[in-house]
Symmetry: none
Subunit: 401 residues, 2 copies
C-alpha cells in the first residue's frame, strides 16, 4: 500500500485552489564560505513573508545524494515516485519539442553524424550543424517508409532530432546505435527483450534507408539513435488526487512532463507575467495549477550567481499577484537544486514554502536554505508534497475509523 492507494480513496472534492510554483533549480550554495546562497542573497520580501506566516522545509527529490534530472525532479513534485515512474531520454526529448506522445509510441533521440567511406564515425555530432541544416535533412528523411510503422521525425537544436515510432507492438527496450566514441562503426539497434524485437527491426530498416538518403550530404551523412523509450504509464492526477490540473509553462519540456500526469496545457505564454495573467484567466476552470519558472535553473547552469539572484527577485515580484487570487494552498519550491557554484543540477534538498490557513507555524522568518532547516515540514521526500497540499486544501478524508 502506498501513498497513491491512500489518496485515491481518501480524496474528496471541494472548491479549493492549489498553486504549485516550481522555480526550476532554485536551491543553491554559497559562492564563498560563509556567504549566502542565491536565494538568501536575493531580496525576496514576498517569499519571506510567506515563509514567516506559514510553513517551510526542504524536499528531497529522489533520495539523499541523488541528483535528479528534470524528469525525476518534476515527477516527484507532482507527487509520483521518481524511482517507479522513469522517463527515458527519448521521451524527454520528445516532450521537449511539445510532441504529444501516445501511450504506445517509442520516442528516440537522433543525432546527425559524419562517417567515412567505410562507415566509421569521424564526428558524432556532424560538426554541430545548425538547426536549419538539421531541419532540411529531417525533411528529406520524412520520405522514408517502413512497413507497419508510422515514423514521425521532428528537428531539434543543432545536430539533434526526435524520432517517434507509432504503431502496434513496439517495445521501448532497444540499445543505442550511438557507441559514444568516434573511430568505430555505429552499433546495431539490439532489442533487449522480445517485446522490442519489432522496434529494433524498424529502426534497422530506417537506418539503412537513411544512410542512402544522406550519403551525399556533408558533413551530416549518417545518423545515430539513442534513448529508445516509451512514456511511463502514469495514473493521472485526476485519478490519484481527484484534481483537475492545468500547467502554465513557457518551455515545452515542462508542458510535456505535466501532460504525462494528465494536466491540461494552457495556451502559450512568454514569461512569468503572462503566466500569472493566464493563471487568473483560468482560475475558475481548474483546481490545481502548476506554474513553471525556468530561469533560476538556466542561471545556475551558467554558473551565474548574480543572474540567479536577479531571477529569484523577478519571481518574488510576482508573488503578490498570485496571492491576490487567494489560492487555498500556495507552494513555492523547485524540482532540484542548481547551485551557480557547481553550474549543474545537484542533490541538495530543495527549499519549499507551503502557505495555507491550516499551517502550524515554525521559526522560519525568511525563505532560504538555512531558514528552511528550521521549517515545520522538516526534510521530506518531494513526492509527499502533493498529499500535504491536498490535506491543507481540505481534500483528504480521514484514513481509518
Amino acid at each position: 500500500m502506498n501513498i497513491h492507494d491512500l489518496t485515491r480513496t481518501l480524496n474528496r472534492h471541494n472548491d479549493s485552489r492549489i498553486v504549485l510554483l516550481v522555480a526550476d533549480g532554485i536551491g543553491g550554495l554559497p559562492q564563498e564560505p560563509g556567504g549566502p546562497t542565491e536565494l538568501e542573497a536575493a531580496a525576496t520580501p514576498h517569499l519571506d513573508a510567506l515563509a514567516a506566516r506559514n510553513v517551510s522545509g526542504l524536499l528531497n527529490p529522489v533520495l539523499p545524494g541523488i541528483t535528479p534530472g528534470s524528469g525525476p525532479g518534476h515527477v516527484s513534485v507532482f507527487g509520483y515516485d521518481p524511482l517507479e515512474y522513469q522517463i527515458g531520454r527519448g521521451v524527454l526529448e520528445a516532450l521537449g519539442i511539445d510532441f504529444d506522445l501516445g501511450p504506445n509510441d517509442v520516442a528516440i533521440r537522433g543525432n546527425f553524424c559524419t562517417v567515412d567511406s567505410s562507415g566509421i564515425i569521424t564526428d558524432r555530432r556532424a560538426g554541430r550543424i545548425p538547426s536549419e541544416a538539421s531541419a532540411r535533412l529531417v525533411e528529406k528523411l520524412r520520405s522514408i517508409r517502413v512497413e507497419g510503422a508510422e515514423i514521425c521525425l521532428e528537428p531539434g537544436l543543432d545536430h539533434r532530432f526526435v524520432m517517434v515510432l507509432r504503431g502496434e507492438g513496439f517495445g521501448g527496450d532497444v540499445e543505442d546505435t550511438d557507441p559514444q566514441v568516434a573511430d568505430v562503426l555505429p552499433l546495431r539497434p539490439v532489442p533487449r527483450n522480445a517485446a522490442s524485437q519489432r522496434t529494433a527491426e524498424v529502426a534497422e530498416q530506417f537506418i539503412a534507408q537513411a544512410a542512402e538518403v544522406l550519403k551525399n550530404e556533408q558533413p551530416a551523412n549518417m545518423l545515430l539513435l539513442r534513448g529508445f523509450a516509451r512514456r511511463p504509464s502514469m495514473p493521472t492526477m485526476q485519478e490519484v488526487y481527484g484534481l483537475k490540473p492545468a500547467a502554465i509553462a513557457v518551455y515545452p519540456m515542462y508542458r510535456g512532463l505535466a501532460r504525462l500526469v494528465g494536466m491540461d496545457i494552457l495556451p502559450k505564454v512568454a514569461d512569468i507575467e503572462e503566466q500569472v495573467h493566464r493563471l487568473g484567466e483560468y482560475w475558475d476552470r481548474y483546481d490545481f495549477f502548476f506554474v513553471h519558472f525556468k530561469y533560476t535553473d538556466s542561471a545556475g547552469e551558467d554558473g551565474d550567481f548574480e543572474e540567479k539572484v536577479r531571477r529569484i527577485e523577478e519571481l518574488d515580484a510576482h508573488i503578490p499577484a498570485i496571492e491576490a487570487l487567494k489560492p487555498d494552498v500556495l507552494i513555492v519550491t523547485g524540482d532540484h537544486s542548481t547551485p551557480a557554484k557547481m553550474s549543474q543540477h545537484s542533490w541538495h534538498p530543495v527549499p519549499v514554502v507551503l502557505a495555507a490557513s491550516t499551517c502550524r507555524p515554525d521559526e522560519a522568518t525568511r525563505f532560504g536554505e538555512s531558514q528552511c532547516l528550521r521549517g515545520g515540514l522538516g526534510q521530506i521526500e518531494a513526492r509527499y508534497l502533493l498529499p500535504l497540499a491536498l490535506a491543507h486544501a481540505g481534500r483528504l478524508q480521514k484514513f481509518g475509523a
Copy 2:
C-alpha cells in the same frame, strides 16, 4: 526486512518499565495567526521539565498529509505499520463496546432504520431512536437463529448496534447493505470474494428474519449493516517486542485497540487519577503500560481551545505521580493531532517527549509543537517510537556483529 523482524530477534528481557502515555489528539494549531497552540498555551511545568531534561520530537502517524482515525493512530504508536494493519469500521465499533473479538469473528456495524410498505428506506437512522429502544429491539433480534453461525448482538448508542458473526469460514469482505442515501431499497450483502460467500449468506438470512421480527415496530422497522470486517491478524507485543504489556484506559475503544496487540486490560477506571493509581498497583506485574487520556481529543473535536488547554493542564498535574514510580522510559505523545481550530483530527505531526537516562539532550526547553521542531528525535514515523522505547529501556541488543 522490517522493524519487527529486527525487534523480534534483538529484544531481550530486563527489569525495566516503560510507560506510554497517549494524550489523544494532543497536537494542535494556533487559534489566531502568531498565537500559541493548545499545548503551548497550557501551563505544563512538569511536561516542560521532562522536555528540557530529555528528548522530544514530532511523530507522523501514517504519512505526510494523511489524517489518521483512532485505529491507525494507535496502531502506529504501538509500533505497528498502520498501512499493513488496517482496522475495519465494524471492528472498531465492536472494540468500542468492549466486545472481545476472536480472530475469526466478523464484526459489523448495524443501524436501525425506517422503511415504507414497499421496503424503501425513509429514514436511515429510524429517527435516531434512544439507546433504550435499541436495546429492547436488539433483545428481540437475539431470537434469530441461522444455521452454522453464532450471532452476537449488542446495543450501541442511539440507533446503532454491533453484530458479530462467529463460526468457521466467515470472510470479512462483504458490501454494506446501507446505501448511504434514503428513498431506495436496502442493498444486498454482496460478497467481495469467495471466502466471504458464507458471511454474505448468513447476513442475508439474518436480514430476512430481522425484517419479520421488526415489521410491526415504529419507527425502527428494519436494519442496515455496514463495515463488515475481521480484526487484522497482528502479532502481539509479546511476540515482536518481548514485552508484557498492560492497558489502562477509561474508554472501551482504546482498551479494544490495546487488546488487538495482545495487551492485558487492567480493571476499569473512571479518570486519570484512577489510571495513575492503577499504574502503581500493577507496577510489578507488567513491564509496559499504555495509559490513554481521551479528553484532549474530545475538547479538540468540540473546537474548544480553552477546554483543551485545561485538559492538558489536568494531565500535566499527574506527571509527577507517574515519575514517582521511576519508569525507565516515560513517553508522552498522542495518536494524532486534533486542533481545536479544525474541530477534527488532522495530519499535523504529533509532539512527543521521551524521558530516559540515555537521552541525548536537545535544545527544547518546553513541551510544545514549535519546540518539538528542535527536538532530538526529529520528525519520524510514529511506528518507530516503540523500538526507541525498547532501546532506551536496554531491551534491544546490537544488530549485526
